[in-house]
Assembly symmetry: C3
Homo-oligomer: 273 residues x 3
């Protein structure tokens, strides 16, 4: 079902502009290339607007934001919206500082995003206005589990309805929802949390998936989540004794590179609620 | 023939200052170490000037330029020129935005570079003043092929003559030319385009090669192109089933690390026109 | 003896804020995750102060400093000191430019660091006010050797006494000293110098070790040095023919990931003087 959305990325090779943090930016670029898209990065305001205009999608990640890049996020975001381009927000660390929370909240107020993708603490912060994000990681108390699943599904659907955006709340269980429909996804490995930037990589991929599948945004966003999680499973199986998180990082990107629509169809674990 | 230029890099270990983008900077640093040079990065204007003064070469890459780093590029570039240091420009994304095009064009106007290294669309943009660069990748219509080879050789020789710089136009076929002489190089693998930053890495290496071989700049620049392409071929042969672009990236740098003058002499594929 | 300090990092998982350079930042993040800590990066002044407040330790690395990040270093450093958080300075390139030297010297004047970790040329620069740092690498003439060992031990103890900080001078032989006691450590491999950022990685790890072992700061700092060196030894043994510095980088982080207190106890090579 979802494999065709990957195939469309490989066919169309969307050009994705990333205003993103300098911690994980290289991995974001390589994983976009791995899934068949092309990355570009610009963060000086004028340049960011012009580069946005020639791209198919814009991925805004506030991971190491500063006053200059914040200006770029707002200006480029408005340009992307004006042009009808795909627009994703990754509110890294929202809840951990007021600059991060305020920037994410104001971006959502001023610009309608196609998708907002974050961990449970970040998403809660955006709904409630303040949060308990543990640095850039979700607070354990916020995690989606079988116990609170129905509640959390309603929570993300409500946020999707109020914001007009697809909400992708990712963690041990991933939820990808619009106002009506929620994909509950169980791909992935807990060891992915021991690598920096798997969330940032997913945001890049997801922007490409939606840009290449504009008629099926929700399904494309869910397919990106399944792809990243399945790549984490395949890479984990390929780990040899003595290998750790650095090699795991490489093998996940390698697994994205070698993924086909068929493998994704077979490996995707999800239900729709 | 070209292997000795690598051996000189390993012997002299030139210190190379890189004002470069934050996407691929780590790979640039590691590939410089792999070929025997030492990297340093600084981009605050005063610091960039002082660091330039203690180095043997300056590699200016406009990949994620901003107003502060642009100032550093001009000031450090002038200092390098004043001191007679090797100076390379990598006009990443020239043609994709006016800030990138203007910055590259003005750098060339105000500072004479030993080498300008870019893809076909970037180089065309510098000659024609505007371009059709597809993000940071060359437009397919601009590619060097057997059909347009003679025309393109004249094109780069003309640009070399007018700019007073060696022109390195890299792609499926690489051209490295001054006003009189053009190396046509056929090393490399198409899969290198699926990794971010092989061009940036080449610019770093090329700066080191010229710094270590000041009497033979054209040959040294060509040797750097052969080295990078050959490393891509060796790494490709070493890829195992299931490996992809992330591991390929590591194996290319590893291949540079293990390259000898003899291997380079045997593997370099070029003609002089 | 030292293995228990690693175990405490894994148990407590300290959150470490890094104001650091963009060259090696991804490796710093991944090595912190590898040893059981959590990384976060912020460098806009207000954000850096707030993020500092929620963390357990602050690692200041001046590798690609600029006017904005320098302001963040001073403000976040003062906040960390006020809150009694662990505070480490990595004076990358002190001695190579006046901005780097002055920033490091002034940071030390205005903020008391728990540890100052650098190479021999950087540390000499901080004591003498100016230096002969070769880019970001130590000048060979400054290296600690068996010939000058007693002199250098006194030198770092004196600096520790005068600054009130633990001094970690790392190179072929590593010295970790307070005013009274010096660990002389002989772990590591010379090939680690062919990878960018092993020093930066060590600074990140060391901040985490001290944050998790506040009662034994000197021993924890020494344990971090042994860990990094031993990881370099283990990774070197795991290198296959044809592998080079890029794969070595990954295998070192992997070795940190797989390190146990027991392995560290067996492999640590040090004496106390």
């Amino acid at each position: 079902m979802l494999g065709k959305y990957l195939e469309n990325v490989r066919k169309k090779s969307p050009l994705i502009h990333n205003i993103t943090n300098y911690v994980t930016v290289n991995d974001v670029a390589n994983v976009l290339l791995a899934c068949g898209a092309s990355p570009i990065m610009a963060d000086e305001p004028d340049d960011a607007v012009e580069i946005t205009a020639i791209c198919n999608g814009l991925n805004i990640n506030i991971g190491t934001l500063n006053s200059r890049t914040i200006e770029s996020m707002f200006k480029a975001g408005k340009k992307a919206r004006e042009l009808g381009h795909v627009l994703l927000l990754d509110p890294v660390g929202a809840g951990a500082s007021s600059l991060r929370t305020d920037t994410a909240v104001n971006l959502i107020k001023e610009i309608k995003f196609d998708v907002i993708r974050g961990n449970a603490s970040e998403i809660k912060t955006l709904v409630l206005g303040s949060g308990t994000t543990h640095g850039v990681d979700a607070d354990k108390a916020d995690a989606v589990s079988d116990e609170n699943l129905s509640f959390m599904i309603d929570f993300v659907k409500d946020f999707a309805k109020n914001s007009g955006s697809i909400i992708a709340l990712t963690g041990a269980v991933d939820l990808v929802a619009d106002a009506e429909k929620c994909f509950v996804i169980r791909n992935g490995r807990p060891e992915m949390g021991r690598i920096t930037g798997t969330g940032c990589q997913l945001s890049g991929i997801m922007t490409a998936f939606i840009a290449a599948n504009p008629e099926n945004k929700l399904e494309a966003a869910a397919a990106a989540v399944c792809l990243m999680g399945l790549a984490g499973e395949i890479a984990f199986k390929n780990l040899q004794p003595g290998e750790g998180n650095s090699t795991y990082r490489n093998k996940i990107i390698d697994a994205v590179y070698n993924m086909t629509g068929e493998i994704l169809d077979e490996g995707a674990k999800y239900e729709v609620r």
